[in-house]
């Protein structure tokens, strides 16, 4: 039972982080709070992918032997899986690009309606 929890507790904590972000996105009225919730959501998904890459007994994905030893046999289980790291590097940069566009739209909304609260914006649109 203890082993079952130790092997999976971090997946449960990632789900809790995702629930916090989703709750902030659908419940909070303030638009900046919604963007913060979106950031937390994306970070929890990236954390899940990075934790899939880890191996028990593996080191960082950087070769121990340098140049000149190209034909040296390499054991794949001695290094962490590098493919999720590459995909999540792309995802982090796309996350910040999304954040920039969202904040630009938010500045325009404030300039037109004078507030960032969702219900007041809906009231002034009528």
């Amino acid at each position: 039972m203890i082993d079952f929890i130790i092997e999976r507790y971090n997946f449960w904590i990632y789900v809790i982080l995702m629930m916090i972000g989703l709750y902030a996105m659908i419940t909070k009225r303030n638009l900046v709070k919604k963007v913060i919730g979106m950031n937390i959501f994306q970070t929890s998904i990236i954390l899940f992918f990075i934790s899939l890459a880890s191996k028990r007994g593996g080191t960082l994905p950087i070769m121990k032997q340098a140049h000149g030893l190209e034909n040296f046999p390499v054991d794949p289980s001695a290094y962490i899986n590098p493919v999720p790291h590459v995909l999540m590097l792309t995802a982090i940069v796309v996350m910040v690009a999304t954040l920039g566009v969202a904040l630009a739209i938010l500045i325009l909304i404030y300039r037109k309606y004078g507030t960032l609260e969702e219900d007041e914006i809906l009231k002034r649109m009528q």
């Binding site: 130790i6 900046v32 990236i46 962490i80 590097l89």
Partner: protein, 81 residues
């Protein structure tokens, strides 16, 4: 992969996330989000993803926080919830 270290940082991350969405002042929320990003960076270093960790530390905790602060200076820092 050190289980105790991992658990302590995960608890800090959850506390930072809950605080960032409950605090009323938007500038404080953004600062706590920057602290959240640095805890996340520490967690990834502990899992062995060093490239992802320094990308997060420079891009998400640096540029993201600066973008948030610029948007809050242009608008308002008061919030109702």
């Amino acid at each position: 992969m050190i289980i105790l270290f991992d658990l302590i940082i995960l608890i800090f991350v959850v506390i930072c996330a809950v605080t960032a969405i409950t605090v009323k002042d938007l500038l404080s929320a953004v600062m706590i989000l920057g602290a959240y990003s640095f805890f996340m960076c520490l967690l990834w270093t502990e899992m062995g993803a060093v490239d992802v960790a320094f990308t997060e530390a420079s891009v998400s905790a640096g540029i993201g926080t600066i973008l948030f602060i610029a948007a809050i200076i242009k608008t308002t820092r008061r919030s109702k919830d």
